[in-house]
Subunit: 203 residues, 2 copies
Amino acid sequence: MSRGIRGVGAQHEQRRTEIADAVLAIVAERGLAAVSQSAVAAQAGVSAGRVQHYFPAKQQLIEAAFERGNHLSSARIRQQVGRDLEAADARLVLTTVLAELIPYDAATRAHMRVRQAFHALALADEVIAARLRLLYDDFHRQMADLIGEGRRSGRITAALDPHQSALALVALAEGLASYVLIDLTCAGTARELLLAAVADLYR
Amino acid sequence: MSRGIRGVGAQHEQRRTEIADAVLAIVAERGLAAVSQSAVAAQAGVSAGRVQHYFPAKQQLIEAAFERGNHLSSARIRQQVGRDLEAADARLVLTTVLAELIPYDAATRAHMRVRQAFHALALADEVIAARLRLLYDDFHRQMADLIGEGRRSGRITAALDPHQSALALVALAEGLASYVLIDLTCAGTARELLLAAVADLYR
DNA sequence: AGCAAAGCGATGTGATCACATTGTTCTAAT
DNA sequence: ATTAGAACAATGTGATCACATCGCTTTGCT
């Protein structure tokens, strides 16, 4: 099943990842509408035939890019959390993760642009929508767990439902993120508002 | 300048509105990617030539649909507010307006799907982005005014900045709305969370 | 009545698209 | 050495697209 490090198929996954990354770059810069075989090939610096070889249908290309984007995002968040601490304080983890949803540099801005694009696609593509629901369920549950931890330790009032609070916090973060993306609000303001909401939880 | 009720050009604006409405229907059902001259013509029940006659370039068609969508949304909100009361209590108005951002039936769901689609388009279309910024500035200012009113009457603590609070409230509403759109959350839950946030303002 | 412009359907056009097909090179197992 | 399949590049194909053009009819002003 798994391919060796040498020989035919050795670089199969790496090639697919390169192409998926090219898709993400296009989506971040020009949107999903600008994604075509030739555009992706040009962005990746490979032939159009190669793109077609690894992704016989466009839908597969889009889905692979979607998965790749999610993987990159969660890796980035995991790295941020891990950087701050290992045996973590729940509130700090919560703050760090939520703050990562607000674009603060070119890379995170690109990530969130991609995220927004696929979120819009989900409204017309049930495959993407179903996948997105799974990812959100997981993410919201993790956030709810962090809130539940704070509640057990008495730093968050028991009157609050962790899952509801998690839903509201992430929704706020994403709403603010969308404002930052269209330059309606600067990243600092959005971050402040988000942190204020977290502080309100621990009031 | 203005065209009379009879003669050449009498139905000009009405025809444009009909076509724009067809665009909105397509966007709501199948997304912006499904918008083409022929698709719009079929949806509107007119010839493709007619669509082209009234909108020589596709960009104009998209922008007209965008404006039309905004007009319909604001008209709906104005109607809801006006229905509830005339010389209005600020909190009730605030609640009503924010609640209108959460999809609760097929029509509002379609409205918000369109809204999301154009929001995503704004990330790749600076014309739409600029227009969106203007609309948000206005909307946020109105919400801030309502909060400012509550603050002056002492029902909202002076410690809060009206504009910041407005930003956070609307962002929360839109974030929750996006969850409802992908069936991650039911409309009732989203509405509850939103109302809880408003209640927290008046705490 | 005559004329210019609007309204609008029909058809043409070049570009682009997703995808199919073909052919060549390379690799690895036999 | 042979061979099957992977890894491509190149070219073909039919569809669709935005938009241009043409031509006819209607309308309203003079």
